[in-house]
């Protein structure tokens, strides 16, 4: 267990609490309150990422602590994008994923700042990791949609139901090119670093 007794840790735990409160509010059908709490949680997570960035002096994506932190920050923006552009709801699920994603950063991984090793000092580092993070979040959201679809089939067939299957497809269709780009960028980086892909 790695509890963070620092300013960064305080922001991180506050963000987790806000995401959790947003989830509870959404479950209790306080949709507007839930969205506001989610947005506040997002701002707090972004502040945590910026504090981390300032402390380590490089883009915070080097270790799993930083990766989970950035994933938590990306959650809200992707949730808004999916709701407005892809027309896929599931806000409550996104809030819960936000808490789950920040969990390992808050309690399991060490926040010890490290210098960026030479192998990671490459311009491909940020885009390669970033596209993968976005793709992973989208795939997680797609998995949640797929589980909802399965649960729906086994429960009540007569009720009007949201189209989770279409949501799953749209999410995967959006995430797949990002995952491909991540793979290709990694391959290019592998070629630059040790001559293999």
């Amino acid at each position: 267990m790695e509890i963070k007794y620092s300013l960064e840790g305080a922001f991180l735990y506050a963000a987790m609490l806000l995401y959790l409160s947003a989830f509870v509010a959404s479950i209790l059908r306080r949709v507007e309150a839930g969205r506001r709490l989610f947005c506040t949680g997002f701002i707090t997570t972004v502040i945590t990422v910026l504090v981390r960035w300032y402390m380590v002096r490089h883009i915070p994506m080097q270790n799993l602590y930083e990766v989970f932190l950035v994933m938590g920050a990306a959650m809200y923006s992707l949730s808004c994008f999916c709701r407005r552009i892809l027309r896929i709801g599931a806000d409550a699920a996104d809030m819960l994923i936000g808490v789950i994603v920040l969990g390992p950063a808050g309690f399991f991984f060490s926040a010890e700042p490290n210098q960026l090793p030479p192998a990671l000092q490459c311009w491909l580092f940020a885009p390669h990791v970033a596209v993968y993070l976005l793709a992973y979040i989208l795939m997680t959201k797609a998995a949640v949609q797929a589980v909802c679809q399965l649960m729906q089939v086994t429960n009540d067939r007569d009720m009007p139901r949201p189209d989770y299957e279409r949501g799953t497809y749209r999410m995967i269709a959006f995430g797949f090119p990002l995952m491909t780009t991540g793979l290709v960028l990694g391959s290019w980086w592998g070629h630059l670093a040790w001559g293999d892909f």
Binding site: A119, T180, S187, W188, H191, L192, W194, G195, F197
Partner: protein, 290 residues
């Protein structure tokens, strides 16, 4: 379908084994046959399927498979044997090149540095070899006569006034690459930061320098059909560097395939749905007007 399942299983297994093991497996005769058949199947698909030729996303995503498989086969050991036979060259897929500082080298050797696997058509001269170390701020530990150990941050201007016979300590200067040059007039302390950008590696062909570069992690030298990477060094005395040498055969083809793969994926999953959405909106608007 079953052969693809086997390939997936082998790829997962290969990811957890040593790269040499995976390389040997994926270049073995049964898998070479598989790659060849796959290549033929992809080519046949272009002829048979009209749908494939009509849809740009699908077309690009299949064409890239052909390029990636063909480029990788051209880059393999057997591919190099064929290349050498056709072009009458003596190119090798890869190897290592140990060079002492101030010396030249042109022989490519195996990983254990004992067996010569090839010779490059030019000579590499290592003008300069240096190591840069990465470390944290660091801590200076001071043991008092009482045996107690005090610590202070090792940074310029840090001050320690602990008593216990230590007196007052202040850090006036911090060296990252401390070197002391002794001469008759005394010693000179220098801090060589290692950021000197003089070309460390020179390519010599026919007695003239035709290329030069500082090579470091993520920044190899590309010359004469080979990539040269900083791979290892003399860990005891830092007298020589070991470069890894990789042939560039097939790289352009493979990376063109990768570019097409990205383009095809974005076309099929992003651009096409957006275009059809815009078209639908346009048609809907026209219907309302009429």
């Amino acid at each position: 379908m079953s052969s693809f399942m086997i390939l997936i299983c082998l790829s997962v297994t290969g990811a957890f084994r040593e790269s040499i093991w995976s390389q040997a497996l994926f270049n073995s005769p049964p898998l070479a046959t598989f790659w060849m058949s796959l290549l033929c199947l992809f080519m046949a698909a272009f002829i048979v399927s009209r749908n494939l030729r009509r849809k740009p996303g699908l077309f690009l995503m299949h064409l890239d498979c052909i390029l990636i498989v063909a480029g990788s086969m051209w880059d393999s050991e057997s591919g190099h044997t064929w290349q050498n036979r056709i072009r009458e060259t003596a190119k090798v897929p890869g190897g290592f090149m140990p060079i002492h500082e101030g010396h030249s080298e042109r022989h490519i050797v195996s990983k254990d540095l004992h067996i010569r696997v090839g010779t490059s058509p030019f000579t590499l001269r290592l003008n300069d070899f240096r190591m840069e170390y990465y470390w944290h701020e660091g801590t200076l530990l001071v043991r008092a006569p009482s045996g107690r150990v005090h610590s202070m941050p090792a940074r310029h201007g840090a001050l320690m006034t602990r008593g216990e016979g230590i007196g007052t300590l202040s850090i006036k200067q911090r060296y990252k690459n401390l070197k002391v040059r002794s001469s008759r007039s005394g010693g000179t302390i220098i801090d060589q930061p290692g950021t000197d950008r003089d070309p460390a590696l020179a390519v010599v062909k026919g007695g003239t320098v035709v290329g030069q570069k500082v090579i470091q992690v993520n920044d190899p030298l590309h010359f004469g059909g080979y990539y040269f990477y900083q791979a290892s060094y003399d860990r005891d005395y830092g007298r020589y560097s070991i470069l890894s040498v990789t042939s560039d055969s097939g790289y352009t083809t493979v990376f063109s395939g990768y570019a097409l793969l990205c383009l095809g994926a974005f076309w099929a999953f992003w651009f096409r749905p957006v275009m059809s959405y815009i078209e639908k909106r346009k048609n809907h608007g026209n219907q309302i007007q009429s």
